[in-house]
């Protein structure tokens, strides 16, 4: 605490208009079993400080040495970085609550207190169970956990201590039948302790993943169709991430991320209809247990739920204090950094499509359609307008009955056309973990949560390329 206070004081003494400091202490553990062998047992400790100063433009420095001479050097570097810029005219921040708080999200069972050998055995057993028959050629099972303690101090007086535990478990199987190779995987993860792993039931999930991989290796490739598509919650989670979460980041809306991450097709369209009346979307960092859970963002702004889309109308974006000032709205707590090493950026937290009124059987009540289960890999254009996302498996729907599975299916669509085509939204809401959301330069990979219910819309289903 003292060293962080010293850093803020020094930055202000050196002329900063504003300064904040984040110190972090983290512990990570990863266990990976692959093909019946313990491939990795790793334990990582990290500590350090990120110093952000405002001189009309932002200067930032980070250091992994938490001793006074190194911190002094870090503050002076941050100041000299900001002062190196000739034209310093930005950085106006919206007012925000100056919080003094402690936040805790620890879960029930501390994953670091669970015996290492038990975790290794769980992975070995899951890996074994994934090998359901001789067609399964590769398997893996993993458990990972992180314990993170953070301190945020600002020159405005904010003082926030937080600690958080996140835990993951994953299983994977790859099967080969003749010339066809297919894989299937499942992942559980969220803010919480080892109860997440226990709930996941690794052996059962691993067996299921093995069976799916074998079934897909025997399945036919999905032919091309333009049909109603029903998506499960896992598919909706990735879809929401890509075509609702990312374009809702205000820095993208303003064109600030144009170089790499891109822009947002709906810039300037707040208040306008962008989809069906059944479409409601939210970003909420305070969804308990979700991977994107937090109580304060990395600018010290209290996390809050925000309605992004209501009944098909675009209502708002995710903001930093700076973009909130530009949009003349209150900051809503979406500035986050991967770690103390990075300057925060506007990032989604837990972004999801809200549940609707339809029963599951009503979604499948179509003459002909395609059911997409599980999301695999996306390709989205730079404005988040034109998208393609592949599914883990797919089925044809014929008069309410499922035929399949089919392998290698993906959908292609244009975001506003797809949003407008949504004609049924289920009640069966689920959140999913997305552990690798990338943005920024240098790239920052962040944990986020995404989710939604089953939903139905219209898109082009594409098969193998």
């Amino acid at each position: 605490m003292e060293i962080a206070e010293h850093a803020v004081e020094l930055a202000m003494k050196l002329g900063a208009a504003y300064a904040d400091v984040r110190t972090e202490n983290s512990r990570n553990e990863t266990i990976l079993v692959k093909d019946g062998k313990v491939e990795k047992v790793a334990s990582e400790l990290q500590q350090g400080m990120g110093i952000r100063v405002l001189f009309g433009t932002w200067g930032f420095a980070s250091t992994t040495e938490l001793v006074k001479p190194a911190v002094d050097r870090g503050v002076k570097t941050a100041v000299s970085m900001a002062k190196a810029v000739k034209h310093r005219a930005g950085g106006k921040m919206a007012e925000a609550e100056v919080a003094e708080a402690r936040a805790h999200a620890g879960g029930k069972i501390d994953p670091f207190e669970v015996d290492l050998s038990e975790k290794i055995d769980m992975c070995l057993e899951a890996d074994r169970r994934a090998r359901v028959d001789g067609h399964v050629k590769r398997t893996s099972a993993s458990i990972a956990a992180q314990k993170l303690q953070k301190l945020f101090l600002s020159s405005e007086g904010a003082r926030i201590q937080s600690d958080r535990v996140i835990t993951y478990a994953g299983v994977f199987a790859l099967a080969k039948k003749g010339a066809v190779t297919e894989y299937f995987e499942d992942l559980a993860g969220g803010t919480g302790g080892f109860e997440i792993v226990r709930r996941f039931d690794m052996p059962t999930r691993a067996e299921d993943v093995g069976k799916h991989a074998v079934a897909l290796a025997s399945a036919k490739a999905m032919p091309k169709h333009r049909l109603p598509v029903v998506m499960d919650q896992d598919f909706v989670a990735l879809l929401t991430h890509e075509i609702i979460g990312h374009p809702s980041e205000a820095d993208r809306v303003l064109g600030r991320e144009a170089a790499w991450a891109g822009k947002a097709w709906w810039a300037g369209m707040i208040g306008r209809r962008i989809g069906s009346k059944l479409l409601n979307a939210v970003d909420d960092p305070r969804v308990e247990g979700a991977l994107g859970y937090y109580e304060y963002d990395d600018e010290g702004v209290p996390a809050r739920r925000k309605q992004l889309i209501r009944e098909g109308k675009l209502l708002g974006h995710m903001h930093s204090r700076e973009t909130a000032a530009e949009f003349k709205v209150e900051p809503n707590g979406n500035m986050r950094a991967q770690s103390f090493k990075y300057l925060p950026l506007i990032r989604m937290s837990n972004t999801f499509i809200e549940p609707g009124e339809h029963k599951l059987e009503e979604l499948f009540d179509v003459k002909e359609g395609v059911y997409l289960k599980g999301a695999k890999i996306p390709s989205i254009d730079s404005r988040r307008y034109n998208f393609q996302i592949s599914a883990k498996e797919a089925f044809l729907i014929r008069r309410g009955e499922l035929v399949g599975p089919f392998r290698d299916a993906s959908i292609m669509g244009i975001a506003p056309e797809f949003f407008s085509s949504i004609d049924a939204v289920g009640r069966d809401f689920e959140m999913r973990p997305i552990p690798n959301c990338g943005k920024g330069d240098p790239m920052q990979t962040l944990h986020v949560g995404n989710g939604g219910p089953h939903l139905r819309g219209l898109a082009l289903v594409a098969g193998v390329g």
Binding site: S43, S62, T63, Y183, R256, S382, M412
Partner: protein
């Protein structure tokens, strides 16, 4: 100093009970000047230092890391090793080698670059774009300077230190006019004198202005020339994993059963060149201490090799190719993870066509300067999907105007058999967030499906 710490760490780890030990100490300085809305919005400097320690008891290996070394770190690595079952694939740490010095991978001027000079260079990129043409609109991008240092030591007596530098700048520039447009450019070098910031701005602005008034492209099959930045995006994301010994072993690679077979058009040569003089991702040795080298991947269209670290090389009964690296998102060699195979400087050999000759020879088709978000949507098959961010129509062998955005949903194993022209215009390019650089000429593919 770093080597002394590594050597002390392995000594104490042995004393703590390990049969073998390896310490990897790294220090990275990453300076970034970010530009958005045609002004510098942030300047950042990351200092990251730490030590990664592997302790082995027979074939039981424990890994741990921290930002500084202490006896407790050694004890933790040993206790992890004790608590786990053996890994029969662990083949020990490497014996000492004598890697040859790699030329032009460290520049003292770059290592000592001051923040003010970095901001000036970013400003020069920006000004060159803004001054290029009155139709130039907003520009955004970044300048990055990376200084990486590392030391490695193991109980077999292997010991080494390595230092590299690199600078790279990227700018995306919009142009005002019918249809709106954007252009982009990237340049990188291992030395300050090898980096021309104005060139980044000019190239990006020129592409943006030339991309105004884009015409709609009818869906269909086209001859498509990918310029170096587009080839780099495609090959980094859809070829890089396919030649990675880990993904080959895991059978995620579409090349898993193809070693020794013809997989590409005759005459295509691709290699990974970890010790390329002046290579942006060249190193003297990899992060296990193995000497880096030039590894042929495709020769004359035949698949001849993959890149390996020691672990996956052992599984495949091959030798390490010096590609065992410790990487995360932040640029630099990172103490906090164990080595894994990665490509470094991927090089596609140039052909005889000049760029203009390749266009003239094309007749009807598309020229794509930048593609975006290119991912293998079905990795084991090599199916990928991408969209263009900057493209042009070719009619009767001439570039006749800009093309609107297209989506390509294709299959790379099929496309590399349909390369009908390789230009001589080799350039380096690095996609967003990449941990490797691609040295490539423009390539022409036939019958690419456009939607």
């Amino acid at each position: 100093m770093m080597l002394e710490i590594a050597e002390r760490a392995i000594e104490l780890t042995k004393k703590s009970g390990a049969d073998q030990a390896e310490a990897f100490v790294s220090e990275n300085l990453v300076t970034t000047v970010r530009i958005a809305a045609s002004r510098v919005i942030e300047t950042k400097k990351v200092f990251d230092y730490g030590i990664g320690l592997r302790a082995a008891l027979g074939q039981k290996v424990g890994f741990t890391c921290a930002n500084s070394f202490s006896q407790e770190l050694s004890e933790r690595a040993v206790s992890i090793a004790r608590a786990r079952p053996p890994n029969p694939d662990f083949n020990g740490f490497p014996e000492p080698t004598k890697p040859k010095k790699v030329r032009d991978i460290y520049d003292r001027a770059l290592a000592k670059l001051q923040p003010a000079r970095a901001a000036e260079l970013a400003d020069l990129m920006l000004q060159a774009a803004l001054d290029f043409d009155r139709r130039v609109g907003e520009a955004s991008g970044a300048l990055n300077v990376v200084v990486e240092r590392c030391a490695i030591a193991n109980t077999n007596g292997l010991a080494g230190v390595d230092e590299t530098t690199r600078i790279f700048g990227h700018l995306t520039v919009e142009a005002r006019g019918a249809g709106g447009s954007e252009g982009a450019a990237w340049l990188g070098s291992t030395s300050l004198r090898g980096f021309d910031p104005s060139e980044v701005g000019k190239r990006a602005a020129e592409l943006a202005v030339n991309s105004l008034n884009p015409k709609k492209v009818k869906p269909g099959k086209y001859a498509v020339i990918l310029e170096p930045a587009a080839v780099a995006e495609l090959f980094y994301h859809v070829f890089g994993y396919a030649v990675n010994g880990r993904d080959v072993h895991d059978r995620i690679s579409y090349f898993a059963d193809k070693l020794g077979k013809v997989v590409a058009v005759e005459g295509l040569n691709i290699y990974d060149w970890g010790n390329m003089a002046g290579g942006m991702y060249s190193k003297t040795f990899d992060d296990e201490g193995m000497p880096t080298r030039r590894t042929p991947l495709i020769e004359g269209g035949k698949l001849v090799g993959f890149v390996y670290d020691r672990h996956y090389a052992g599984k495949a009964k091959k030798d390490s190719t010096g590609n065992g690296l410790r990487l995360i998102d932040m640029p630099g060699r990172y103490y906090g993870v164990e080595p894994s195979p990665y490509i470094t400087n991927l090089a596609i050999e140039p052909g005889d066509f000049k760029r203009e000759e390749l266009i003239a020879d094309t007749g009807e088709g598309l020229l794509l300067s930048r593609i975006w978000y290119t991912y293998p949507i079905t990795p084991q098959l090599g199916d990928f999907s991408t969209t263009s961010r900057c493209g042009f129509l070719i009619h009767k062998g001439e570039v006749v105007g800009a093309a609107q955005q297209v989506r390509i949903h294709e299959n790379l194993p099929r496309l590399i058999k349909q390369i009908t022209g390789v230009a001589s215009d080799v350039k380096q390019a690095m996609p967003w967030g990449a941990s490797a650089v691609i040295n490539t000429p423009s390539l022409r593919f036939s019958e690419v499906r456009i939607s």
